[in-house]
């Protein structure tokens, strides 16, 4: 389990880019307007851009750069702009703190973002 943040610091509609998770590329954590929490790989599988800076609507995040869309529940890509899914991570809340159980799958990283694997 990896500590992410205090829930109180992530209001509804906010997102957080977590860059210092051990052995993992950056992860995007979302608190949706509906009050749900989701964590997915932060890097779009189409091109190197941060999904944490994207737009969340109807349980999906739209990449700010080329508008690829990923389902926040499954990580599934829209199949139009992006072909590969992002990994989803389990979010656990304990005593007002948000923790992540990171996926053990191999991440799909676009060209230009392979540095995250090397590290």
């Amino acid at each position: 389990m990896n500590y992410a943040c205090q829930l109180a610091d992530l209001p509804r509609g906010a997102s957080l880019r977590l860059t210092d998770l051990p052995g993992s590329p950056p992860v995007a954590l979302f608190h949706t307007d509906d009050g749900e929490l989701f964590a997915v790989d932060d890097t779009c599988t189409h091109a190197d851009a941060s999904l944490a800076d994207g737009f969340v609507e109807d349980c999906a995040v739209e990449c700010p750069l080329h508008a690829a869309i990923f389902d926040l529940r499954t990580g599934e890509a829209d199949g139009l702009v992006a072909q590969y899914p992002v990994r989803t991570h389990t979010v656990v809340i304990e005593d007002g703190a948000v923790y992540l159980q990171l996926s053990e799958k191999i991440p799909h990283l676009p060209a230009g973002a392979q540095r995250y694997v090397a590290s």
Partner: protein
């Protein structure tokens, strides 16, 4: 007379003390003030770019993501309604390499403004949110390299922007113009303009300097000659004194006139908030440099001017009625036609005047008669801004 026999052109002796006509005539600006590109450029910089400019009807930007690209002096500005429904304005310049972000005059984006050159991407609040390889440049300040904001105000249902780094007081410059003309700002509030709906919009491309358009709007010495329909509805215009000559004065409709329409026939539902002394009257306000507001009991007409060259001015004119009137689909033609005709008559007069501005004979300008003397104050204002 041959060319050799022509007398030399000298400065007109208008308003000179001691002459028989002392006091009757006041000089206009010299002709080159209406033609000189250097003066036009100075006006753009020190008048248009220094003040508040009315750029759109708030309803033109009704939905989140709706935007308009507008020219403010020499600057292109994007006005956009955010996902939080607030209207914001930005210089239309990508912070990366300067490409124009928006080239269409209007449109709708879903959630971002993206430069079509290298895809630097900004959210609707102007923050830089994405760019190719941006995640590899964590030192880039997303706010510092966000779009450069332009001051925005929404008032009487219109969006006003100011591109100056330190905008002048909106209350003094814009609302103050209303107080100067009507005596107080409540008088315009009675019309509830922000609650009216757009019934018709007509754009005019006028081949004349913007100051000729303003001067024309400020006086009514020409009304009896070129505005037969308007003078029929507002008989007092026949004596040449416009509503803008006085403070708090509205021109009264003629006795037989039933509404502010091209033939004096009845208009539409009266705006409920107007005061008794605003019924059956026409009020006009000039908000310098480029807005004219015309108030009649059942509608409001707003002109917005964009000077684009020393000899060319674009004018967008809106006719606003009660929303239920517009929704009903009732024929607005007779209401619109009156001022559309006035516009066409006025702009034709301005276009007839523009070519003479570069005549040798007009090098020292012309003359203002007493019912036009208040225009000299406008000239002093322009000159003071450029001094």
């Amino acid at each position: 007379m041959t060319a050799l026999e022509q007398p030399p052109v000298t400065a007109p002796r208008v308003g000179s003390a001691g002459s028989a006509s002392a006091g009757s005539l006041v000089p206009t600006l010299p002709g080159h003030w209406y033609t000189d590109p250097a003066i036009f450029e100075a006006e753009q910089e020190r008048i248009v770019e220094a003040g508040w400019v009315c750029v759109a009807l708030s309803a033109d930007l009704a939905e989140p993501g709706a935007y308009r690209t507008v020219q403010v002096g020499r600057e292109s500005v994007v006005v956009v309604r955010g996902r939080d429904r607030a209207v914001r304005a930005f210089f239309n310049v990508c912070r990366h390499r300067g490409a124009r972000l928006c080239v269409e005059p209007e449109g709708k984006v879903r959630n971002k403004l993206q430069c079509p050159y290298h895809a630097w991407t900004y959210d609707l609040a102007g923050k830089l949110i994405a760019a190719p390889n941006l995640t590899q440049m964590p030192d880039v300040d997303r706010i510092g390299y966000g779009l450069v904001p332009v001051a925005v105000r929404e008032w009487i249902g219109y969006v006003w922007v100011c591109v100056a780094p330190e905008p002048p007081s909106f209350e003094e410059e814009v609302m103050g113009a209303v107080v100067t003309r009507l005596g107080d700002v409540e008088s315009i509030d009675h019309y509830g303009i922000e609650g009216l709906a757009l019934g018709r919009r007509i754009s005019y491309d006028v081949a004349a300097n913007w100051k000729l358009v303003v001067e024309n709007f400020m006086e009514c010495y020409h009304c009896a000659t070129i505005h037969p329909e308007l003078t029929e509805v507002l008989p007092e215009f026949a004596d040449g004194y416009a509503a803008q000559y006085y403070v708090g004065h509205g021109a009264e409709f003629g006795e037989q006139v039933r509404g502010f329409t091209v033939d004096g026939s009845a208009g539409h539902t009266r705006i409920p908030g107007i005061a008794e002394d605003q019924d059956r009257r026409y009020y006009a306000i000039t908000i310098r440099p480029g807005v004219f507001v015309n108030l009649v009991p059942d509608h409001v007409i707003v002109h917005r001017m964009t000077p684009v060259a020393a000899d060319r001015t674009l004018v967008e004119c809106d006719w606003l009625f009660l929303p239920e009137v517009v929704r009903s689909g009732v024929d607005l033609d007779r209401s619109v036609e009156l001022f559309h005709r006035v516009n066409a008559q006025d702009f034709a007069a301005c276009e007839r005047t523009q070519p003479a501005m570069s005549s040798r004979v007009y090098a020292h300008g012309g003359a203002l008669v007493p019912s036009e003397h208040h225009i000299a104050e406008f000239h002093h204002w322009v000159q003071a801004r450029l001094a």
